[in-house]
Amino acid sequence: MIRVTELSKSFEEIKAVRSISFEVKQGEVLGFLGPNGAGKSTTMKMLTCFLAPTEGDATIFGKSILDEPIEVRKKIGYMPENAPLYDDLTVDEFLHYAAQLREIDKNKEMDAVENVLKICAIKEVQFQGIETLSKGYKRRVSMAQALIHDPEVLVLDEPTDGLDPNQKHDVRSLIKSLAKDKCIILSTHILEEVEAVCTRAIIISSGKKLFDGEPHELKEKSSLGRVDDVFRAITTGAKVEGVTL
């Protein structure tokens, strides 16, 4: 379980994240919503111990991101924004590299790689150079890397961004199938995605948490049933027809 308490991050003058608190329990899929530059990625980078918070703390299954960053990282599978990968490796080499850095047992390494190749449906490109892959495949390779050690927590930064509708569907069903025994946090600015896969949604804008609830509550705020109206009303503070906050 993830517990975030008053997490803040400033970059010199700019306050990217302002005192955000929330919890994610096992089996939950938390959708992190917000306009571009809202602080979604920054929060995720703090949870994965890539960035140190300016203030506040978070614990992942009892381990603090401040005191035990290496232990925290062991529990998390992380897919960074835009799925950066080592272009000069093949998919197979890359996944073995990730498995070794995750300190997976030598004799279980093969199975772990085979397993994620199957789950993420990238078996057919196993020996292909990463450089030659299409965007969709790259996303899935990045996903495979995040899943290789069967983590308790998955942090996915815009996992479906730039994919075609079929690929989006595949990734969403994959996330749903994984949800049962993991904590999953995913960021997105696609609202339909929240309704499709998330059990809870948090909306942040300019680093502040503005909404925390279930996706259907979000929909009910609009008399027309339009989630994007509600999103606009919450994040911009403007009056939008049919929305009561």
Binding site: K45, F50, L51, E71, R73, Y86, D88, A98, L101
Partner: protein, 248 residues
């Protein structure tokens, strides 16, 4: 002492030199240049001196390394930062120190491999005369340490920027300054501003003085310390920079 992560990163990085053209291009250019300058026909060259030793070989090593080593080091971190893979690497259970060490050792091993590939020059000298093998070995050790020092400086500048060209130029300039620190023109120039004590300190920083004593086959503890301190200090700087700037 060396952790599992360091070994894994070391292996992957070393392999990448031979998976891309970089490794081969470097190897060919280095070996061609060092072979040429060792046996070229100017004064002070091997055939004019008529001595079966490697002094002409070791004399040119710092100048070749000055341009070639930064070409190896420039991509180490700049590329990771540019492509964003640094986020991937440093969210795996790996500390910054392990990552810095793994990458540095891999590129150092690559430089070492290139030095080993110059063995035909040693064989030539052995064939032509009866050189002191110990002097040659110490010279090679010196060259290896020199490469390590340049690399550590390169690591630092590579961590400082996302741009490989800037990283290359800064490394060349800085290595040049450190190499030439003991040379008369630079010391004379500095003596117009600084006290004598500072000049001595500056002169003792000169990489080439420490390298040249080793090229003559003299192993002084002070020289070994010098290279160890240079390498560790710059790597530590690299680690600090990455801790601070990795996300920007």
């Amino acid at each position: 002492m060396i952790s599992h992560s360091v070994k894994t990163i070391f292996k992957k990085e070393l392999k990448s030199y031979f998976a891309t053209p970089l490794g081969y291009v470097f190897c060919v250019i280095f070996l061609f240049s060092i072979g040429y300058v060792t046996f070229e026909s100017g004064k002070g060259s091997f055939f004019v001196l008529r001595q079966a030793d490697l002094s002409s070989f070791f004399r040119y090593i710092p100048w070749l390394f000055l341009f070639l080593v930064p070409a190896v080091s420039m991509r180490l971190w700049a590329e990771e930062r540019k492509s964003g893979t640094i986020e991937l690497l440093l969210t795996l259970p790996v500390t910054v120190r392990e990552a810095v060490l793994g990458k540095f050792l891999a590129s150092w091993a690559f430089i070492g491999f290139n030095l080993l590939c110059t063995f035909p020059i040693v064989l030539t000298v052995l064939y032509l005369g009866d050189p002191d093998i110990f002097v040659i070995l110490v010279g090679y050790l010196g060259a290896f340490l020199l490469g390590g020092a340049y690399l550590a400086i390169g690591c630092f500048f590579s961590a400082l920027t996302k741009n490989q060209v800037i990283s290359f130029i800064c490394t060349v300039v800085f290595c040049y300054l450190l190499t030439m620190a003991g040379s008369p023109p630079i010391l004379e120039f500095l003596s117009t501003f600084f006290h004598r004590y500072f000049l001595n300190l500056f002169e003792s920083l000169s990489i080439i003085n420490h390298f040249e004593t080793m090229g003559r086959g003299v192993v002084r503890l002070g020289d070994l310390w010098f290279f160890a301190v240079i390498i560790l200090a710059w790597l530590y700087g690299c680690e600090a920079i990455l801790d601070e700037k990795k996300a920007s």
